[in-house]
Every structure is written in C-alpha cells, then in structure tokens.
C-alpha cells in the first residue's frame, strides 16, 4: 500500500511520531495484559501505559551525584530518537516505508541496537553498583543476541537478493511464508527480539530480584519515561520487521495488525513460560545454539541460490 503524505506530517504525526508513540503504548498494554492473563492476574487497564508515561513525564528528574549530567540527560533522548528514526525505514502499519535506500536494513538494525547501547552507557555513567552490574549485563547480552538476530534478518534479504526493507517486503508477498521456508531464522529473530527488549526470560540485565532495575536504577521522571516509551516503540518496530520478513510481508494495515498481534501473543506466552536465564546461560544459548543454527540456514540459502539456476535449467531442459 502506498500513500503520499507531506514529509512533515509523515515525520511528526503519521506514520512516524505521534502515531508511533500511540502504538507503542497500545502494544505495551496488549503485552502486559496478555502476560497478566497467562499468569492468572487481572492485568492493567487499557490506559495504564499512557498514565504511567504521563506520570513519569510530570515527575522530577533526579540527577544523581557522580554522573556526567549532559550524558545523563541526552542518552534517553538519543535512544528514543534512534527508535523513531528506525521506524522510517520499516513498513509501519503496512504502508510503504517513508524513506528507503539500498542497504537500509543494516541502518535499521544499527538504529535498533542504539537503544541497548544507550541503556548500557546510562548504567555505566552512574556510580551505582546495581547500574554498573546491569550495564555490564546489558552490553554482554547485546553482544550475544545481536549477531544471530542480524543473521536471522539477513536470511530473507539474501533469499530475495536485496538489502532494502521495502523491496524485501514486496518480494516476500508472493510464494510461501519465510516462516515455513526458514523456520530457524524465524525462531531466532523472534527470540532475538525478546533479548533485545530484555523481556523475560532474557531480563537478566534488569533482574529486579538481584540488581533492582539494572542500568536504569538511577533514572527517574522524564529520562526513565523516555527510555520506556523508546522500548515500546522498538517492540512495535521489531514485530513489524519480523512480520514483514517472515510472515509473508505487510501489504495493508489489516495485515500489519493481525500479524504483529499474533507475534505479540507468541512473545507474551514465551515470557510467561520460562524462568529467568542467568547472563552466562543467555550468552551460551545464543552462541552455542542460536548463531550456529542461523549460520547453517544462511549457508543453505546461499548454496540454494547458487544452485537454483542450474537446477532450473536441468528441470526445464
């Protein structure tokens, strides 16, 4: 689906800016509600994420002693900005991406990791022990899931032969879903997204029973609110990316809604099924299983593409 929108409106209101914030809050609500229902709890009301966000914005932002104040204030803004920018290259709401160029897949994945990097820096910036341990864990986790996640995203890209998200999105709309053709890539991408967003069971970087709130322990008020909404937006973008790459592309807003919500249902179920992994277990899992599985699949795709013309001529001839 292709719409022509004034660039300013595209950036600030739709499909970027405000509508992204709204969808971030909506998806946070759906996620929280689903996890709560899986855990036999009542769960929040629909406006609870918004109420939390407004409350956090209204609160005083305490800048603790021993931090570099400039960095402390800028980091959440950078994290949110990176998430919002990443949305511009992704087929949000099933529309054509607002911008696109050859190779924007790499830029998007980089922008998505900027959030974790900011959280790590934010933790390392303070002198609090919990923050420091949390920052170490956040960055350790970044190095463990990032490679397999990237490789899982490259699978469809290599199969299509383009590194531009919009082209991949259009190309995968015909034929079988990549989820069936590249099942390992799909699983790794989805679980990688959970690692990226530090959702349980990958919440070791913010394990509340050990290190309070991890890297964000010293954050309060506006900074904390911005980090939170940044993560919500990243959730929406991540789900959109996976849905478009592995679930037959996003041709319309309806496609976008049902495909991402189904994915969200799966992640919510995964969140409530497992006990928290220790950080060494997380790293071990990603490098021993995740990376190898995706690498093998990538090899199969490359070899398949290499031999496809010969096979076709053989059959055709």
């Amino acid at each position: 689906m292709n719409l022509t929108i004034n660039p300013i409106i595209a950036l600030l209101v739709f499909p970027g800016g405000l509508s992204l914030l709204a969808f971030g809050l909506l998806y946070e609500y759906v996620d929280r509600k689903l996890v709560a229902r899986f855990q036999n709890r009542v769960g929040p009301r629909w406006f609870q994420p918004l109420a939390d966000f407004v409350k956090l914005l209204a609160k005083e932002e305490i800048i603790p002693a021993g931090v570099q104040p400039g960095l402390f204030i800028v980091l959440p803004v950078v994290a949110l900005a990176a998430a919002l920018t990443a949305a511009l290259y992704v087929p949000m709401f099933g529309l054509q991406p607002a911008y696109g160029f050859s190779g924007d897949l790499v830029v998007t994945i980089y922008l998505l990791s900027l959030m974790t990097l900011c959280i790590g820096l934010a933790g390392a910036n303070t002198v609090d022990r919990f923050s420091l341990v949390g920052a170490t864990r956040a960055l350790t986790q970044l190095f463990s899931y990032e490679a397999p996640f990237m490789l899982a995203m490259l699978g469809p890209a290599i199969a299509v032969g383009s590194w531009q998200i919009s082209e991949i999105n259009t190309a995968v709309q015909t034929g079988w879903w990549n989820m069936l053709v590249q099942p390992f890539g799909f699983v790794v991408a989805l679980v990688g997204l959970m690692g990226k967003l530090e959702l349980p069971p990958f919440d070791a970087p913010e394990a509340e029973t050990e290190i309070v709130a991890g890297a964000l322990t010293e954050y309060s008020g506006r900074g904390f609110g911005l980090f939170r909404i940044g993560r919500d937006i990243e959730l929406v973008i991540g789900l959109t990316l996976i849905a478009s790459f592995y679930m037959g592309g996003l041709a319309s807003p309806i496609d976008f809604l049902w495909k991402t919500l189904v994915l969200l249902l799966v992640t919510a179920a995964l969140q409530s099924l497992f006990a928290r992994l220790r950080i060494d277990q997380t790293v071990g899992m990603w490098w021993r299983t995740g990376t190898i599985v995706v690498l093998i699949q990538l090899l199969v795709i490359i070899i398949g593409r290499w031999f496809a013309p010969y096979v076709q001529t053989l059959i055709g001839g």
Binding site: R129, F130, E210, R276, I279
Partner: protein, 393 residues
C-alpha cells in the same frame, strides 16, 4: 561487617531496602565480574524486644505476644510457648486439643511451603509459578480462616488446650481443599523437576553436602535436602504427633532442586496428615484447667516449624509472669549455610540461594552482645533502658 573492604573490591550491597528482600536484612556480596567471592550478613533491623517483653506480661498475655514473633509460622510459636508452659504447670492438654493443634500446624506448613514456593520462583524470575502458587495458597488460607476466624494469627492455642473445635462441615471443606491442593501440587512437582530453564537455575546450585549441613548447623527442610534425617515431629513427638505420626522427608542431593523437592514432598505428607487427623479426630474436651501461677522451674520445648526446629526455653519463678523466655528460630540457624554456600556462585544465583532456606527476618532479630575484642558486656534491664533513652534523645 564493619571492616571496610579493600578499595579495589566491588561490593554489591543488598538491603535493608531492596526489591528482592521484602523484609529488612543487609547483605554485602563482594563480586569479581559475576562471581561472588565473599558474603556477609547484617541482621537486626527489626528487633522488637519480645523476649524481654514477655517478662512484663503474664503467661496468657505472652501467648498472644509470642504468636506475633513471626507472621508466617504464628501457630508454632504459640504452640511451643503453650507446650512449655503446660510442662511447667504439670498439665497435659486433652487428646482432641492435641490433634487440633497438629491439624492447624500442618495447615500452616502447607500455607508456608506454598508461599515459599512462590517466593523462590519469583527470585528465580519465574513469575508465572509465583502467581499460580499464591492463588492456590488462598485455598488453605481460607480453610484456616474458616477454622479460626483469622488468616494470619490464628490464635488457636490457649494454655492447656485449644479454643476452636472442628465441625462436620468443616471436615468436609478441609478434605475438599486437600484434594484440590494435592492435584495442584502434583503439577508443581512436575514443573520444578522437569522445566529445563528452571532446572538450569536450581540443579547443582547451592550444593551443600551432609557433612557441611551438620557442621553449619542447618535445620529443617534445608538440612533434610542435604540428607540429614532430622525432624522434631518424628524424633521427639509433641502435640498430636504420637497419635498421628509423620515421616521424615529426605533428599540426598543437597542442591536447590532438592530443597524444592523436599518441601513439595512435605506438602504431600501434610495433605495426608490433615486427612488422617480429620478422619480420626478423638472425642473429648478441648481444654484443661491451668493454674494462674506457674510453679517454679525451667524447661525447654521444641517443635518443628515449617522452616525447621523451633526451640523455646522457659524459666518460671513461681509467679504469673515468666522469668525468662528464650526463642531460637530456625532461620537464624540456617544463615551460616547461606553465607558459606554463596561463595563461588554467580550473583544471579544469590536471591535463590538466599530464598532457599526460606528466611524469615522478623525471626532473626534478637538482642545480642557483640564481643569487640575484650570489652564484652552483658547489660542489665536498667542499663538497656538508660541506653535507649539516651539513644533516642
């Protein structure tokens, strides 16, 4: 404790305010990367002066006071105090009262173990199990409320018997509740022993051998999970435990998984006991008459709290007030094992190892005279009073 660590060491202080600890306690873990190299504990944030408080009240009032030592095992505290007082007075509560005491004691064990199962799962980041066990725990809480009218401090004991009786309807409700809980507990046993991610957090973590358990003085399920066959209910039956005996639940492994398995197996044993007691409840009176003034003498009474052996020492001077009451709670005995086991584990394992002994902080805090070099001192009541007035001036 007071000794400052060398500056290059990285100390993570947990508590007295921390999301992992709902009760105040202070722990300092020296870590190297993620590995804990040293652990110290500091207790005493909720000292309430209860032992001293008993000396100002008569035995009946003390019963209510001792019931409030611990919010989770309130019944066993009152029971230990009542048993000790009865021994001093030379009376024995009637069989029906003893059976009801055991019944409430086992219901309390069920509620305590279910609570612990949830807390331990939460410490390991497994909130789903936490929510489910606490939902099911409501069943036994409601049964206790039905029996006694209270959810926390059941206040079942009086000196010389009990103040509640169990009716036919209540027996039916109890049996129905036990059937429901048994089904649920079977499911939890499966989760705890088969779930891969959960086993990754419990198997071979916090390993304590039988020798270590004996050496460190561990008690209760913590010791039994290391293969120490010790249970006051079997070794020195009190209340109704000679009429309705239980058996010692033991596991040789000694790791966190074994502590889960021991407590869950104890739940099954408790369900069996509750059914047996309500089926064979002896008839008769609920109380015997106890003199107001307790004859001079001293005694100990031991009961098996959900967390292990609970020990009371009572000394009477022939008046209606005790001369000295000394309480030794199971949590206090298990701390040494935690601090020893912590070394060498990951920081992420600390909450579960801490929770593994089912610590109760309000049980821990009592007056201690700290020996600093040679200036050890024992304070009299007057000195303490003066010190208190000066301290808060």
């Amino acid at each position: 404790m007071e000794t400052k660590q060398a500056p290059e060491k990285f100390v993570v202080a947990i508590g007295p305010q921390h999301p992992a600890l709902k009760e105040p306690g202070h722990f300092e873990f020296t870590i190297d990367g993620e590995v804990v190299t040293n652990a110290t504990a500091r207790l005493g944030f909720v000292h309430r002066g209860m032992e001293k408080g008993t000396e100002d009240r008569n035995y009946v009032q003390d019963l209510y006071l001792m019931e409030r030592v611990c919010g989770i095992c309130s019944h066993v505290h009152a029971l230990a105090f009542a048993l000790g007082t009865e021994k001093l007075a030379g009376v024995v509560a009637p069989p029906r009262a003893q059976a009801i005491r055991e019944l409430v004691g086992e219901l309390e064990r069920i509620h305590s173990h279910l609570l612990w199962l949830g807390v331990a799962a939460h410490e390991g980041g497994f909130d789903t199990l936490f929510m489910y066990t606490w939902r099911d725990r409501e069943t036994v809480m409601e049964l206790l409320e039905m029996l006694s009218g209270n959810r926390v401090n059941y206040s079942v004991n009086v000196i010389g018997g009990v103040k509640i009786d169990v009716s036919k309807d209540q027996i039916e409700a109890l049996k129905y509740g036990m059937d429901f809980l048994e089904e649920r507990t079977k499911h939890y046993m499966k989760v705890v022993t088969e779930d891969e991610t959960f086993l990754g957090r419990t198997r071979n973590i916090g390993l304590m051998t039988k020798e270590q358990a004996e050496l460190l003085g561990a008690v209760g399920p913590t010791a039994r999970a290391s293969g120490v066959e010790r249970d006051v209910r079997v070794d020195a039956p009190y209340a109704g435990y000679d009429m309705f005996p239980t058996k010692v639940i033991c596991e040789p492994a000694g790791d966190l998984e074994a502590r889960f398995v021991v407590r869950i197996n104890e739940l099954f044993e408790s369900y069996r006991l509750v059914r047996k007691i309500v089926d064979h409840l002896p008839a008769g009176d609920l109380t015997v008459k106890v003199p107001r003034r307790i004859p001079e003498g001293e005694t100990i009474s031991r009961v098996e709290a959900p967390r292990g052996e609970l020990f009371y020492y009572l000394r009477s001077n022939g008046t209606d007030k005790p001369d000295r009451v000394k309480v030794r709670t199971p949590s206090l005995c298990n701390w040494a094992s935690v601090l020893t086991l912590a070394v060498g584990h990951k920081l992420a394992d600390m909450p579960m190892i801490l929770a593994g002994i089912d610590p109760c902080f309000s049980c821990n805090d009592r007056m201690v005279s700290i020996k600093r070099g040679n200036d050890s001192q024992i304070w009299s009541w007057e000195d303490l009073r003066k010190y208190g007035i000066e301290y808060y001036k």
